[in-house]
């Protein structure tokens, strides 16, 4: 589904700092991620993971440093960049009083998608919700909401997908469906996933990053990671607590 050739870096983060008052949620974060990669971000609560994803998705501006996503600056090129990113969160980001179809058609209009009805039909089929397309999403189960959320995030064929604890609150069946959907589109997008589940995160990723107290504790390619050492480092960072 991705349309941009996968070459170069999807993410270029240099000296990224974000402060809330005197507290630094992110402190001089540096890393690059090649296009087509799958980055899993781990860290304790308050480590700065969500702040990092909010900055990468243009929802929050950095206090210092530079961040380029798909070659575009998150501050100066924000509107253009938003065409290239999608977000799947533990929140469905869907309107409860609109039907599944109305939700997707609304976001299709926001992104200016041509042949929106055809695209919406295609996505509802791919997430197996076409039979519920006319139902209000407030009647959906958590798993169904998450599947529709995936359809919403893929609507505009983004180059890079951000997953903010996407498995949170899902039952095993819904987790299987999400696994299948991610596997289907794996080669077509760059992925950045926040996870507290080390096994799941390491299973999916090509790159892994541990954040603690707003700083990068470890960042490496999956193949170069010794899993036992990685788990030990992760346990140690969880013990570091919140900045």
């Amino acid at each position: 589904m991705g349309e941009t050739p996968l070459t170069g870096n999807a993410l270029e983060v240099r000296g990224l700092t974000r402060a809330f008052g005197a507290r630094k949620a992110l402190d001089k974060v540096d890393f690059d991620l090649p296009e087509g990669a799958f980055l899993s971000i781990f860290g304790p609560n308050g480590a700065g993971k969500t702040t990092l994803v909010k900055i990468l998705t243009t929802l929050l501006n950095p206090s210092a440093g530079s961040v380029r996503v798909c070659g575009l600056d998150v501050v100066t090129d924000a509107v253009e960049l938003r065409h290239k990113i999608g977000l799947i969160s533990h929140n469905p980001l869907l309107y409860a009083d609109l039907t599944a179809e109305e939700n997707l058609l609304f976001f299709a209009e926001m992104y200016g998608i041509p042949d929106a009805e055809e695209r919406v039909r295609e996505l509802l089929e791919s997430v197996e919700l076409d039979h519920r397309r006319l139902d209000l999403t407030r009647t959906f189960s958590r798993g169904m909401l998450q599947r529709l959320s995936i359809a919403r995030a893929l609507l505009h064929r983004p180059d890079i997908l951000f997953l903010d604890e996407p498995y949170s609150g899902l039952d095993p069946h819904a987790m299987d469906i999400l696994d299948t959907l991610i596997a289907q589109i794996r080669g077509e997008h760059t992925f950045v996933m926040i996870s507290h589940d080390l096994s799941k995160g390491l299973e999916l990723c090509s790159h892994a990053l541990i954040l603690a107290n707003g700083k990068v504790v470890m960042f490496d390619e999956r193949d170069a990671i010794d899993e036992a050492a990685f788990r030990e480092t992760y346990r140690a960072t969880v013990g570091m607590g919140v900045a």
């Binding site: 929140n91 309107y95 009083d97 609109l98 209009e109 926001m110």
Partner: protein, 234 residues
Amino acid sequence: MASASWRQFKAILRKDLVMEMRTHEMITSMGLYAILTMVVYQIALTEAGEALDVRLVMPGLIWVAFIFMSLLGLNRSFVHEKDQGCIDALLLSPVDRPVIFFAKFSGNLLFLLAVEVLSLPVFAFLFLQGREGISNPIWLLGVVMLAASVGISGVGTLLATMTVNTSGKDILLAVVFVPLMYPLLRAAVGATFAAVIGGPGSIETFWSWMAWVAGFDVIMLLVAFGLYEFVIGA
């Protein structure tokens, strides 16, 4: 770019209208409040009987009801966006923030006007039956209602965006909104009084108050337009 903004404006406004038609949250809360306020006014003025010319206090009564009624609606106007994190999905889409402001403002304006139009006959039924009516043409009342509602909705939409993430948003919105509304409220009451009471020079007085209302609208809409990107991203 302009056509994209227009398309996005229509999409957000249509979405808000569809959801309101389904839930009736804003219309019901504002309408009920307006009717209850009129009933309380009626009880409060019962003892005055025929001695009181209700037209003298009608402008003040109407605008007090409209201002507090609008607070209820404005408090609800961002609830749908807050639920399930929808505001993040909206902000993730390639839309200029002022487009979001004007769409939300237009929705709030339509809902406010709808309830105002519906509550005026109730007011007339309760207070003006068998009494002298409005002296000047009734469309003057329509003009002041429309113009003042623009100001109420513009400032209210901006403030509702600012307070939606705060814990005491209901009281905070009222505390900030009502003092900011003072100049508009004064001018709207003045214009409504001139329209209702009539008499020599009342039309000139009406338009001089309307100039204040229009000035407030222009200034506040420009301020809201300029600040919205910062406010919604904060």
